[in-house]
């Protein structure tokens, strides 16, 4: 431990502490740039916020004007021997300061909707999550089995994949009008857009993953008496389960990217409605807060799924897991107590004289 490896080494993993540090830096760095632009007037600040209108007739306190205009108007006022206007340099309204956005994270939830019939932010968010959930769930229920069939059988692959490949290139929002015509203006067409955006990719991605099944495992299973569709159930799917899980995780990210277009279809709803509404009122800190919330929700979901995944597939990570023990116990007919460790501790395996290579 006396010599730490270099920071820049090709294809070498970093120490876990450095990984964490760099992970934090990757978030802090853009935030710092944002702070610099917001709080130091000489970097950008192309506008002037009027404090005292002086002799300029159309200036009002709090008005944002471009610096050039401000200077020109002041010259005119001085020429007409009127008092000059005063003001402070400021950024455009669409770039709020970080602290205002941070405040908005809280106030956006506590601010009452301006119009009757409008919804609170948490209601918007919840509606968005529901839209994603249903769209993605329906896509998974149909897409994963279909992808598995396409990956396992050349017949299903040839009959299904060419047309899916074709439809995949049609942008999901293009189906918006059609979805409204068929499914009405409420949640159904939005769920349909998410479904269309995910499903076709999902079938192809799953089929590709399934196709990469190690043929040696299939042959081994055949010599053990496994044949036909049981090969799919007992060998192909379990051997690729961890990868299918990762595929699904990545596809969930796709589903999120379709959320915004889905929500403007028909009656605008959910977080998109909130963002559009707040932009209309020029509350850009709320807009930023909402966008960051979507990002955080996505990131959190992904991290939670990754965390669960590591524990669901212990043969990938060699780590004992309570979650998996619990799930196996739920689904197995044999009732084994949770406390009984089903596996010898790893250290003993590694140091055993029998474990060579």
């Amino acid at each position: 431990m006396s010599v730490s490896p270099p920071w820049f080494a090709i294809q070498q993993p970093l120490a876990s502490r450095r990984r964490l540090l760099l992970g934090i830096v990757s978030f802090v760095l853009p935030l710092l740039i944002w702070c610099a632009v917001s709080y130091t007037p000489f970097i950008w600040h192309p506008m002037v916020r009027v404090e005292n209108p002086g002799g300029v007739s159309w200036f009002r306190p709090g008005l944002l004007v471009e610096r050039a205009v401000f200077a020109a108007e002041n010259e005119k006022a001085l020429a007409a021997s009127q008092p000059a206007a005063t003001g402070k340099r400021a950024n455009p309204v669409f770039l709020p300061e970080p602290h205002k956005v941070a405040q908005a994270f809280y106030t956006a939830f506590t601010t009452e909707p301006k119009l009757r019939g409008d919804v609170w932010l948490h209601e918007s968010l919840w509606r968005s999550i529901q839209t994603i959930f249903w769209g993605f769930l329906i896509s998974c229920i149909i897409g994963i089995p279909l992808g598995i069939l396409c990956g396992a059988y050349a017949f299903w692959s040839r009959i299904g994949e060419p047309v899916i490949d074709f439809i995949r290139y049609m942008p999901a929002p293009a189906f918006g009008a059609l979805a409204v015509a068929v499914l009405g203006i409420n949640d159904a067409p939005k769920i349909a857009i998410i479904f269309i955006g995910t499903f076709f990719q999902q079938v192809l991605v799953v089929a590709n993953t399934i196709r990469r099944t190690d043929p040696a495992l299939l042959e081994a299973a055949q010599t053990l008496g496994c044949r036909g569709f049981r090969l799919v159930l007992h060998v192909i799917v379990p051997s690729k389960l961890a990868e299918l899980y990762t595929d699904t995780r990545i596809l969930l990210g796709w589903a999120w990217t379709y959320l915004i277009v889905a929500e403007v279809v028909g009656v605008s709803s959910g977080i998109t409605f909130f963002i559009n509404q707040q932009a209309k009122y020029r509350n850009f800190e709320n807009v930023y807060a909402a966008i960051i919330m979507i990002g955080l929700l996505g990131l959190a979901t992904d991290q939670i799924l990754a965390f669960i995944g590591k524990r669901l597939f212990p043969w990938e990570t060699q780590r004992p897991s309570r979650i998996r023990a619990f799930i196996t116990r739920l689904f197995s007919s044999r009732r084994t107590p949770l406390t009984a460790s089903p596996r010898p501790p790893l250290s003993s395996t590694a140091t055993s004289p029998e474990a060579r290579s």
């Binding site: 053990l224 597939f313 060699q318």
Partner: protein, 308 residues
């Protein structure tokens, strides 16, 4: 080892005990019959190559047969045909007198690349065959644990394959194949990826297992010593196309032990195998052989800095 002092006996000469063993062996029923087995492949450019041609042999119950041959003689093609993982162009394959097509649990196979199911624990791997047969889960587990005990890995019954060493993996693969009670166990260079020490240990293990389990073994190898050490009979193939060159009855008495490696029978058999597998080069190929033996390398080290 100074072996040139006394001339080697004929590899066909058998001591009375060995001869009696072979007589008894041949009285046992035939398990596997291979008749005129031929496999041709069509290459991408449309030309045909013959991997193996007109292979004929029989194996008796509880016999240990090794298949030996130079690289490219179609050893792997042959065992894949026997396992049913490939279809012969012509010829027949009979198990206990009945023709078989496609893979089946009565012909167990152990692959060089282990091929354990990584998502299953050791026990679940061994249970796979019985479960496919329709054995209920408790019974399959009991059976599996017995097989795991037989290969001496009870301690690792609940480990995952990636926690095991190569030799341990291959022992589990053997247990998994045996759990199906196969009529014949096909082994495709199973110890090829192991280091020399583990390999020797595995050979000893395999002989023990074979002695205690009612199973016929067909074992592919390219290692001459391994073949002599393990086999009752050695089927030597020759390449291009793969054909049976000779079926050698190994005159080394059983039980076998590593000390026999320097016995006269062992060395005689080895000399014969060597002659079959590495035949004297014809004149045309000779210049090539010399060229590879003495590489045309110019000296790149300083004079005086010699290593031999």
């Amino acid at each position: 080892m100074n072996t040139s002092a006394s001339p080697l006996p004929d590899y066909r000469a058998q001591s009375p005990a060995v001869a009696a063993r072979f007589a008894k062996l041949k009285e046992r029923p035939v398990v596997l019959t291979v008749e005129n087995l031929t496999r041709r492949f069509t290459k991408a450019d449309g030309t045909e190559t013959t991997a193996i041609e007109n292979i004929n042999f029989v194996t008796h119950r509880r016999e240990f047969v090794c298949i030996l041959g130079p690289s490219g003689c179609g050893k792997s093609t042959l065992i894949r045909l026997l396992a049913g993982l490939d279809t012969p162009t012509s010829g027949r394959l009979l198990l206990d007198g009945k023709e078989v097509h496609g893979p089946g649990p009565e012909r167990g196979m152990v692959f060089q690349g282990y091929t354990l199911f990584p998502w299953k624990t050791v026990t679940q791997n061994v249970m796979f065959g019985p479960i496919m047969r329709g054995t209920d889960s408790d019974e399959a587990r009991r059976e599996a644990l017995q097989w795991i005990e037989l290969v001496g890995l009870s301690k690792f019954a609940d480990a995952y394959p990636n926690q095991l060493s190569g030799g341990m993996k291959q022992r589990i693969a053997i247990a998994r194949a045996l759990a199906n009670n196969p009529r014949i166990l096909l082994m495709d260079e199973p110890f090829g990826a192991l280091d020399a020490q583990t390999r020797a240990q595995m050979q000893k293990h395999l002989l023990q297992i074979w002695k205690n389990v009612d199973v016929t073994i067909l074992f592919i190898t390219h290692d001459l010593d391994e073949a002599i050490y393990l086999a009752d009979r050695i089927l030597v193939l020759k390449a291009n196309p793969g054909r049976v060159d000779e079926l050698i009855e190994v005159p080394v008495p059983r039980p076998r032990s590593p000390e026999q490696f320097f016995s006269a029978e062992f060395l005689a058999t080895r000399a014969r195998l060597d002659a079959l597998i590495h035949p004297p080069q014809p004149a045309s190929a000779l210049s090539d052989a010399i060229a590879t033996e003495n590489l045309p390398i110019i000296r790149l080290t300083q004079s005086g800095d010699d290593v031999e």
